[in-house]
Symmetry: C2
Subunit: 241 residues, 2 copies
Amino acid sequence: MKMLIVEDDSLHRAYLRDTIAAALPECTEVIEAADGLVGEQLAREHKALHIVMDLQMNARTGIEAARNIWRERPETCILFWSNYSDEAYVRGVSRIVPEGAAYGYVLKSATDARLKLALRGIFVEGQCVIDREVRGVQQKSLGHRGGFTESEYEVLVDIALGLTDRAIAHRRSLSLRSVQNRLQQLYDKLELYKDEPEGQQPSTFNLRTRAISVALLRKLLNANSLEQAELELSEWRARHQ
Amino acid sequence: MKMLIVEDDSLHRAYLRDTIAAALPECTEVIEAADGLVGEQLAREHKALHIVMDLQMNARTGIEAARNIWRERPETCILFWSNYSDEAYVRGVSRIVPEGAAYGYVLKSATDARLKLALRGIFVEGQCVIDREVRGVQQKSLGHRGGFTESEYEVLVDIALGLTDRAIAHRRSLSLRSVQNRLQQLYDKLELYKDEPEGQQPSTFNLRTRAISVALLRKLLNANSLEQAELELSEWRARHQ
DNA sequence: GCGACGGTTGCGGGTTCCCGCAAAACATTC
DNA sequence: GAATGTTTTGCGGGAACCCGCAACCGTCGC
């Protein structure tokens, strides 16, 4: 079995190497990459089918790298090993995992035992292994309890990119009014009206920017997801001269 | 010499412990904390005067913890050891370091040798040791080459929190128009007009939200600094019922 | 004293945004 | 097909925002 490690922190890389050696004696070869870009290349060269991947790297995000790798070889098994369980990450991952692929999402704060279990589960048994904390976030984002629909999430990203209503309408092929409706739903679900003072004085908050603010605080968005979205936006803008 | 380590990642904590033992043989006692909150408490209990501190922890940010510690004992020496050199962090740190205190800012990607040098420089010689990359950011933010003045930075934070012009004016004791002037300077310096298409068609970007977006992309702001600012805002709002 | 300069404030108009109201389009169910 | 619910769209008004213009201050240097 060949294993590829994609992780920018050398300490964590060393730890992974040791833990993999201990948990997977059948693993004969370990390759390492320090960022998503070379990770992608190595995966291609070595036709690696087993990958442990950090999210949050400079040259290329773990999510981007994984998407490209899965595009070429959808049967690849990938274990995402991250510090955070931000909804932005969880959403990003489940958006790209191909039909029936085995993958995992384990937090770096997990114990040795948890990580080893996940390694065996994914790479030997072909299971999906998702940490409890992560699972919680996943459920919330998909289930209807305060979760956001795909279209609401789309407009959230769009206003976070700084687009106007009109631009969003154009991009998503909607009428102006529909965009504004979605925004309203978004404002409702984010509970922007909660922390407004009671009185009738003009409100302290600009809803549009406040929405971005609380989305960031709630980890619905993060810097990485924004960067990604920015890329997609400029691609789109290039296509539509 | 007594040393306090405040760092949430156990691997990094172990690495620090080893490196400190190697670089500072005069260090007789090492205490550890896994987040800012207990870091603060331990600093108080042990009257620690030498601290290595991570930024970016859950319970309490390194910056908050350091501010509180320095408030009590301004002669404490603190080495900030962080993954990133975001302007938001650098600004946050230099905002709280007391007159004449010895401190350091070293990136986690630095080599062993660099870290050891910094440890001796700060804790033995009482120097300030700032990594080159960090220094670059610091200069830019203070020097006038595209840097932001304190007041521009203030309004940037305020709109990122989602405040209206009126609310900002109230908070900062300015007229409405002055706030809008500052916003305009901000928009200029962020070069929001750059990536607008030439034509006369209505612009694709909402300046106010776009400003937040590019500030995040440029690391002028990050999730931590926003959280912090959110706290200060709610304190302020409590004071003004 | 005086002109120059940067920062502040008021005014006004054009645009965008927020959102209630109601009609239309589509999907569900009986 | 009739009844019901959901989503989309247009209209319109009030508020907030962007910003040019002009007047008003304080601080310099001379």
